[in-house]
Amino acid sequence: MKKRSALFHINRKNVLLILGLTLSALILLITIFSPLLETHNPTKMNLPNKLKAPSSENYFGTDALGRDVYSRILEGSRVSLGTAFVVVIFSAILGTAIGLFSGFIGGRTDMVCMRIVDIFLAFPTIVFVLAMTTFLPTNQLSLILAICCINWVRYARIARGEAVIIRNVEYIEAATAIGNSKTGILFRYFLPNTVSKILIMMSMDIGSIILYCASLSFLGLGTQPPSPAWGTMINEGRDYIRNAPWISIAPGIAVAVTALSFNMIGDGLRDALDPRMRESIQTE
């Protein structure tokens, strides 16, 4: 019997999802094997051949200190993707747990949790992270911590919304009637029915975290020079934009392509999991 799970209904027409999956798989592979693919030592300065245009020797040219942009992008990919995955996974787990729990319990605890969520939601992400990093040492870890503190809230809100809907559906009463314990219902009924929405959000979120991370390192937070981060590389290239645009454009494209591939997965997943998208015979 072919295991046909209602969670994933990937048919060949879902181009976006397949394209997104292949692209992001490719990027993940490049990130993992980036040390092998690097042609130069990303942090070694080589002043004589600074600001060289992209050539066979340096695929994406060199920056103001003569370092090879191509190798630095590879190095930077580990930081950027690593941060995105850590942040997304952490905030998805924390947010969904709190959201589901507060939606499931309801009453006063739900009200309190939602007010806390409202407080965090009052801060635009970048503003909150900027405020947070003032008292933290400026390195990648504090950047991750700061984004995690604000990002779990979006998951909490979605998970709580789903939990409130599920709580009123008949099968929860039937589940209690058949003898399920409260925790049994939370894990066997609430969680599986929210997971598809959370998955869609996670894939979209990876894209936006990569963008936030790049923006924040552009503003000088996160990993400090000389170790490369895509955002700082773009910032460093700003003064040479006129005659050496590749210093900023190359990492910029790297950010864009990575974010694009995960956004594609998100869009494709939404089509795959949206029940209305599936064809059905309208007899009635």
């Binding site: 209602a6 969670l7 008949e170 039937a174 589940a175 009637a177 058949i178 314990s181 029915n193």
Partner: protein
Amino acid sequence: MLLELRNVTKTYWSGVMRNKAFHAVKDVNLEIGEREIFGIIGESGSGKTTTCKIIMGLLKPTSGAVLYQGEDITKLGKAKWHELRKSIQMIFQHPQMTFNPRSTVYSACAEPIRIYKLAKDADEEREMVLGILDRVGVSRDQLEKYPHEISGGQAQRLSIARTLLLKPSLLICDEPTSMLDISVQAQILSLLKEIHGKENLTLLYISHNLDVVAAICDRIAVMKDGEIVEMGNTDEVFSSPKHDYTKRLLSARI
């Protein structure tokens, strides 16, 4: 006497200072004997579903007692209720909505076995599930399907099968056939009648459809706005209704 309801009341408070009271169920008294099919007639909002939920322990009554085999079950703790669940079971109005959309027909049916550990291993569990599903007439090719992929009739049979696994002595049916077609309704009603006969089961049948209640119930109670306005043997109530609401119901028969 299997089940007794004594002055059961359920009141919901609303309004800013919690002063506006709404009595979903007002001072209901009811006795249901062993192996009886007792019917409750009432329109939506008459409190019949609230009464079911109170008996099932899904809702706590504001006041009054629910005696099951002489013991007041509204005061029981969680552990006692876990045991009691096996003997009081319920089937619902929307069959497809009674099951977790993420689990297959097989795992939905196996759920009570897993919760109460009725089977030692997977093979025995599969045997029990296949046996009970044959008993209620759910065909084998439905096992791996999801609730939204099977028909209303099949889903209601699955719901009945699931309750039978726990060998209940009281089965509450909350309008099980109102969403079904006439031929499917006939199949479900005859299945209920058959298991009532064979499994010495007491049925509490809730419906707003007089024809169905007349066809299947021995004794009935008529509920309006949370109160029982009339009670008695089905033929008596139908032939000589006393309360004018019952008269109105009977005259509304097309």
